[in-house]
Amino acid sequence: MTPARHTPLSKLAAGGHLEQVPVDSATCRELVHQARNHALTAVAAREIGDFEGAFQIAYDGCRKVCLALALAYGVRAKGDTGHHATTFNAAAATLSGNAAAATLSGNAAARDLVDDATDLRFVRAGSEYRAEKITLAAVNDAIDILGGLLAALPPVMDARLAK
């Protein structure tokens, strides 16, 4: 785990990286629904050999699950440079020291998954900015991480929305 991902939600907000938004449970659940579809689409893309497409859609699914969790806490990343990383960091921050998350999903395991999802940005950057080919191993990893996030984060989100 890197120090950046230990940053508490309050500090991310104070640093100007996050903005407060009204909590809208319908939006949160729609994002999770989209992420589940993205997982299916990623598998289908992998089957036809479109590894770049499969990775991108799996990565986007990871980002949407994390965004859904952040929105459940009433925050989202400001739309400036690095807002993807901030979205992942915000999701990780909601899990840190979160008693409900620990009870429901295994706090550390969920946080590790968010970290793994955050690290996918390196693959994405290589593909988008340096035209690197995405390997089957990277696609499988992204799909696995998305599956893990879809199992771990929605219960935490639902518990938050129920408050």
Binding site: T2, A4, D115, D116, T118, D119, F122, V123, A137, D141
Partner: protein, 222 residues
């Protein structure tokens, strides 16, 4: 499949470099960041300030700086006098380390991590990732580091040769960026791709200046 030795592939262009063994002239101000008195001084400061738990003898620091021990002694005395380093004696050996109480410690750490840290930090991080046969820094950062003047690099380009586990390598990549505060762009190729060098990218890496990283983990396990 193991490729040919790096020296064979790169021929006379390769400049082999590890953090403790350098083959370069370090008496001049460093081209990478010419605000330090000398390259040797910058390397000694980087080695000690970027790892405050580290204690090194004068002989070790001479090796780090690529200078003779009497010159290393003068550099160390100057830095101790400025409050940036401190020393203690164990028997007849004088051990030198960073003085973290200096008000200049943290700002210098930031400068050194950005300018001289990558060789140390990236080498250490990659040493802990399995499946890496070789790794090197190339591109503008390597060019500046090896003494060619030019604009400050915006990132550090790293080529990893081997088949490391993706998650391990990406996590190491994240730790590098956290430590160095500069983007680290890692490209991975297999040893057979490296040996074949069929792409223009690999041919360019093999013919331009690069820094071969020490993956023995000697700094971690000293």
């Amino acid at each position: 499949m193991a490729g040919p030795p790096l020296d064979t592939v790169l021929g006379p262009c390769v400049i082999r470099l590890t953090y403790y063994k350098v083959c370069h002239v370090y008496s001049a101000a460093p081209a990478l960041l010419p605000v330090f008195r000398s390259e040797a001084q910058a390397r000694i400061l980087a080695a000690l300030l970027l790892d405050p738990s580290r204690e090194a003898s004068i002989a070790d620091l001479a090796g780090l700086g690529g200078i003779r021990p009497p010159n290393a002694l003068r550099e160390v005395n100057r830095l101790i006098g400025a409050g940036l380093l401190k020393d203690r004696r164990v028997g007849r050996t004088r051990l030198v380390s960073a003085d973290v109480s200096s008000p200049y410690h943290q700002p210098l750490v930031q400068i050194l991590a950005r300018s001289f840290g990558p060789v140390l930090v990236i080498g250490d991080e990659l040493a802990a990732v399995p499946g890496i046969e070789q790794a090197l820094i190339f591109g503008s950062w390597a060019t500046r580091f090896l003494g060619q003047p030019g604009p400050q690099p915006g990132d550090v380009d790293v080529l990893v040769i081997g088949a490391p586990p993706g998650r391990d390598l990406r996590r190491a990549n994240a730790r590098m960026e956290d430590a160095l505060h500069i983007p680290v762009q890692i490209t991975t190729v297999s040893s057979s791709e490296w040996a074949a060098a069929e792409s223009g990218f690999l041919r360019e890496v093999q013919t331009k200046p690069s820094i071969t990283l020490d993956l023995t983990g000697s700094r971690q396990h000293r």
